[in-house]
């Protein structure tokens, strides 16, 4: 059976070659009924794609074009489609979501097709494309992707402010800084940018670091390029490469060998403590004096608001924002509109160490690959449609329809012969022809590995905030990189000998099918079996009418216990079990004893988090025990019952807003520009006290503690009020005969009588604070740096950012142990109290 299909496939491929030989060497489409399936994340192009598809169907009535627009969760979607295969799998899709699929043989190599004739232009396919852009997306495995457009970054400026100050668009970096200085003196905020962890990873700060690192270090490409004899050496790309600083595209085709890269880091020939990188980070810091005050508390979006509201004169955005801003300006009230323009980050000219102008740091926009379906006739139909999609006719539809729909055009189009209408052509011009950043070394961790990105962000934020001297920052970064290189080497399976090609470590399934923690089906059977066994044991033991009752009882309890065992007990035991395993994304859990706990002992982030947690805990205990107790006393001292009720209700009122809205309101209260707290200080003429409450490393933790002021929690208030109202009136009357001092009464009569309530609040607060990271995640993300991180947040990051599930389970287990100990101590207290 199997052999017939393989023979059949071989036969059809053979026939196809025969057919090619007869009809000539070009790969024209066959005239059979077929469907071409395009799946895209680019929802902005959906109307245009619809029209292009209809046009294509008119030209080829035998072909149907099916479109799937998946703007969200595209990666998950496409991966499940690949798993399903067949007709479920699209023929064309945004390939930048599935890195590595080309090397896995899941995609069709497009190089042969590029040299064939595109029937919609009459020339070779390659001649109709901007090949400098296409070549950029060539992977070590070959060319598998063709982009329709690309996204490039640029500096957007407020033309009106520039005109008012008689400023020209700067031609050099030094002019840019001088212009910023002028703006600052004139009372403007020169530059607005995001400074949170995301901004360091994939927004403005990350872009700047990439630009600077490439500008200062790109002469090192020859050292990292694959050499003759290397397994990944490609003579057509690397042969005869000479570094030439003046040629922005000179190294575009050159293949950098990752193995050489990691080797250079491991053997010390590539060191981060270089004079070049010192220049990179000094330049960055020099520039940062013109960023909005407290920029570290801003994310990209809130920073852009400053530009929109004309508070800042400059900001970093991408070509994908151009049409959006044009549309937004139209929608704005006339008084709020302003003229704006774009320029590319200008070159550093005063520093001989700098190798040349900044190169492009953008990325792909709409870029597509053809999936391999082992059906040559179909594949040719797909490629034929792809050629049409990249023809000037389709390209012009793409631009015209997208603009007519008021949708953003993500960037300059990579198809030759496409006319952009004015003023769009003028707007897009600054994004063109900058080459592409080649050296990705010196910032943002190492090779995009999330753990190193996180570690770098922490120390980079500390450095930028002036809490870490440059030398020490680079020193630590060197260590981070060195360790990350070892991890990556293991991940890729490199032996650091570039001459040999190393197989990536095979995903061997180490799953023990008899271990219920690794076999869900077995676990479910065990759960049902255990409950069934337990039930039938007791049913059989019961006699007479009791047997019927027992049977009914177990029948009625069945849903409850199946749910509890499956979804509450099992995860808890799974957590216990997996705390002792190495369990990472895509790999099966492997027992590793106490290794996770040893790692914890040297986990600096965890230590820092523990310190923060102790501070938060002390504050939380005060906030939850003392404050609501005093508030409850105050309310009960009010004589008028109506006012008493009114105040109680007032303090309970915050419950009616969702908890998350409460957190977000506090985010707004702390907002440095529009926030209530700073406005309040302004109103009191305390302007100098204004601060960026969540963005300053010294203030972030204090701001988290201050949140919810005056901390009269509804729960605590109710508990204490109930407790205090239980005190017999006679006790108070007896006291009144003695003394009139209410404070003494509260302290020496009331407080001891609500000891149980105090104990309850202490234990609940302890349990809650140890686990809680929700508001921290939303307000600061644990930053800036590590200023507000806690162990539970570390657990969350380890699990959901680095996919270290085993280690995260271990952290969870330790937190659980702490909670358990506290609960047991509490039970002990309660018991001794009751015995007394």
């Amino acid at each position: 059976m199997i052999s017939t299909t393989t023979t059949g496939r071989k036969l059809s491929i053979g026939l196809a070659f025969l057919w090619m030989a007869v009809t000539g060497s070009d790969l024209r489409a066959a005239k059979t009924q077929d469907t071409v399936f395009l799946a895209t994340v680019n929802a902005n192009y959906s109307a245009a794609f619809e029209e292009i598809a209809r046009r294509y169907e008119q030209k080829h009535p035998e072909i149907k074009v099916k479109l799937a627009i998946i703007p969200m969760q595209f990666e998950t979607w496409i991966r499940t489609r690949f798993a399903a295969g067949g007709d479920m799998l699209p023929d064309l899709y945004n390939c930048n979501f599935t890195s590595g699929f080309d090397e896995l043989g899941k995609l069709v190599p497009l190089e042969p097709y590029l040299d064939s004739i595109n029937p919609y232009t009459g020339a070779r396919w390659r001649d109709g494309l901007e090949m400098t852009i296409v070549e950029r997306y060539k992977s070590p495995a070959g060319l598998y992707a063709v982009p329709l457009d690309f996204i490039e970054i640029g500096i957007f400026y407020n033309q009106d402010i520039f005109d008012k100050l008689a400023l020209k668009t700067p031609a050099t970096w030094e002019e840019l800084l001088r212009a910023c200085e002028r703006m600052k003196q004139a009372g403007y905020m020169p530059f607005a940018l995001g400074g949170d962890a995301n901004a360091y990873w994939y927004w403005e700060v990350g872009w700047l670091v990439r630009l600077l690192c490439d500008a200062y270090q790109r002469d090192q490409i020859p050292m990292l390029a694959a050499q003759p004899g290397d397994w990944d050496y490609d003579a057509s790309r690397n042969a005869g490469f000479r570094y030439n600083g003046a040629d922005l595209y000179g190294d575009l085709m050159v293949r950098v060998s990752k193995e050489r890269f990691f080797k250079a880091i491991r053997d010390g020939s590539l060191d981060l403590r270089s004079a070049r990188l010192k220049r990179v980070y000094s330049k960055l810091k020099e520039f940062s004096q013109y960023w909005q005050p407290g920029y570290m508390g801003y994310d990209h979006d809130s920073a852009i608001q400053l530009f929109y509201k004309q508070k800042a004169a400059l900001c970093f955005l991408t070509s994908a924002h151009v049409t959006g801003i044009m549309n937004d300006m139209e929608k704005m009230e006339p008084g709020a509109r302003f003229n704006w323009g774009v320029f590319y980050p200008p070159p550093i000219t005063s520093d001989p160490q700098c190798q040349g102008p900044f190169r492009g740091a953008g990325g792909p926009g709409a870029i597509y690959s053809v999936t391999r379906k082992n059906n040559l006739a179909h594949e040719r139909n797909v490629v034929d449609f792809f050629m049409y999609l990249t023809s000037p006719e389709a390209g012009n539809i793409l631009v015209a329809r997208t603009l007519a729909e008021k949708q953003p055009l993500t960037g300059p189009v990579a198809i030759k012969g496409v006319q952009l209408p004015e003023p769009l052509a003028r707007r897009f011009a600054p994004f063109l022809n900058h080459g592409f950043v080649k050296i990705e070394f010196g910032g943002r961790g190492l090779d995009d590995e999330q753990e190193s990105v996180f570690e770098w962000t922490v120390i980079a934020q500390d450095y930028m905030a002036g809490r870490l001297p440059l030398e020490e920052f680079l020193d630590r970064y060197q260590r981070i990189t060195f360790n990350a290189a070892a991890r990556l080497q293991k991940k890729f399976g490199y032996d650091l000998d570039p001459a040999t090609r190393d197989a990536p470590p095979r995903r061997v399934s180490a799953r023990n099918h008899l271990n219920p923690f690794e076999n869900g089906t077995l676990m479910l059977i065990l759960i049902v079996g255990t409950f069934g066994g337990f039930a039938s044991y007791h049913i059989r033991r019961a006699k007479g009418p009791l047997r019927t009752t027992t049977r009914v009882a177990y029948l009625l309890l069945l849903p409850t216990f199946l749910l509890l065992a499956t979804f509450n007990y099992f995860p808890a035991f799974s957590g216990l079990y997996h705390a002792f395993t190495e369990w990472e994304e895509g790999r099966d859990a492997a027992f590793n004893g106490l290794a996770n706990f040893k790692t914890m002992l040297s986990d600096q982030v965890l230590y820092k988090g523990l310190g923060n947690l102790l501070v938060l805990l002390a504050a939380a205990l005060f906030k939850a025990t003392v404050v609501p107790f005093l508030a409850a006393e105050m309310i009960l001292l009010v004589i008028s019952p109506r006012l008493r009720y009114l105040f109680r209700t007032a303090f309970l009122l915050p419950m009616v807003t969702p908890a998350m809205v409460g957190i977000l309101l506090w985010r707004f209260i702390y907002d440095p520009s529009a926030g209530l707290l700073n406005q309040f200080l302004d109103a009191l003429h305390l302007g100098p006290l204004k601060a960026n409450w969540l963005g300053e490393p010294n203030l972030a933790l204090a701001s988290l503690i201050f949140m919810g002021f005056p901390w009269i929690g509804a729960f605590g208030l109710l508990i204490y009020m109930a407790g205090l109202m239980n005190i017999p009136e006679s006790v108070h009357e007896a006291y009144r005969l003695d003394s009139n001092n209410i404070l003494r009464r509260i302290l020496f009569i009331d407080a001891p009588l609500v000891k149980g309530q105090f104990r309850l609040m202490v234990i609940l607060t302890f349990i809650g604070t140890l686990q809680d990271f929700q508001s921290i995640l939303v307000l600061t993300g644990g930053g800036p740096g590590l200023a507000s991180t806690v162990p539970a947040l570390r657990m969350y990051h380890e699990a959901f950012r680095f996919s270290h599930f085993g280690y995260a389970s271990a952290i969870g287990l330790v937190i659980f142990a702490a909670i358990l100990v506290a609960t047991l101590i509490n039970l002990g207290f309660r018991k001794s109290e009751e015995e007394r």
């Binding site: 998950t76 798993a83 399903a84 009914v552 409850t560 009122l653 309101l665 529009a674 234990i763 609940l764």
Partner: protein
């Protein structure tokens, strides 16, 4: 005499202090209401002044991007509340009124779940729902698909399962207090165990079920971390997670954003308007947990 006592100097002092504290507590919510009606110019120019007029269009604008999240949360909440009430009252009834072998062990098993904090189960539960066999494209070993993730079940199932723990405890305590004569009379009339539950226990327990329902609903409405990690599809995302991303959707002004916060509070306002009493009762009873 009474008047003088009520407005004596210490009382005035006390009332002033309470008034300031109440004002500080409610200030953020007052600010939310005010800003929801203000233009950007008014916010940045005259932060403390009243809005220039009612801007109902801000609410319609906000409704446009909140309604889906709210409906998703309400849908999940409705199923969870019904499921929890049913399972809690049935099991609570069984533990309160029926005698059978193994009862003590089973009840202790339920109570001990109250000691297990979410921090221990977050990561393993996430992976268990992801690798649940035979669901969401998974094979028998839990590979190949995404399991329960990104479906409403990933919220509904653990919420029901988790909240029945406290529910059973609450219902059992309540059912134990119902005089057993009532049930015996029914049994003499030939009622089955289920109809004794359905006809006698359930109607009597409506207040306790109301408590359970509102605590459950508020709990579901406020849940954040679990939907954040378990659901990535915007179409079924809940309000708590969706609301954190308002600013990211288009160039949204502060006014409509705050209007969105207000709209998101409406379901809770309605719930509390009807059930504040029950909720408070539940909170104080829940305190016995520790």
């Amino acid at each position: 005499m009474n008047f003088r006592r009520r407005f004596s100097f210490p009382q005035i002092l006390l009332l002033t202090a309470l008034l300031i504290l109440a004002a500080a507590t409610l200030l953020p919510f007052y600010m939310m209401l005010m800003i929801s009606q203000k233009t950007n110019a008014e916010i940045f120019g005259h932060f403390w002044s009243l809005p220039g007029g009612l801007r109902m269009e801000y609410f319609s604008k906000a409704l446009h991007f909140t309604y889906r999240y709210i409906l998703n949360t309400l849908a999940v909440g409705a199923v969870v509340v019904v499921g929890t009430l049913f399972l809690s009252s049935v099991s609570g009834y069984v533990f309160a009124r029926l005698e059978f072998g193994g009862k003590r062990v089973l009840f202790l098993l339920i109570l001990s779940l109250m000691m297990i904090p979410g921090v221990l189960t977050l990561v393993p539960a996430f992976l268990w729902f992801k690798e649940f066999p035979f669901v969401g494209g998974n094979d028998w070993l839990g590979g190949g698909g995404s399991g329960f993730l990104n479906s409403r079940w990933v919220l509904i199932i653990p919420y029901i399962s988790g909240s029945q723990v406290f529910g059973i405890y609450l219902c059992r305590t309540f059912f134990e207090q119902i005089p057993s004569e009532l049930f015996e009379a029914a049994r003499i009339d030939g009622a089955s165990e289920f109809s004794a539950y359905w006809r006698i226990a359930l109607p009597l327990s409506l207040p306790i079920l109301a408590t359970l329902a509102i605590m459950n609903f508020v709990g579901v409405y406020n849940e954040y971390i679990w939907p954040l990690v378990a659901i990535s599809d915007k179409q079924i995302q809940v309000f708590s997670v969706g609301v954190t991303q308002f600013g990211l959707e288009g160039n949204l002004d502060l006014g409509p954003m705050m209007a969105g916060y207000v709209i998101g509070s409406i379901p809770l306002i309605i719930a509390f308007a009807f059930g504040m009493r029950y909720y408070i009762q539940g909170l104080t009873t829940g305190a016995v947990k520790a």
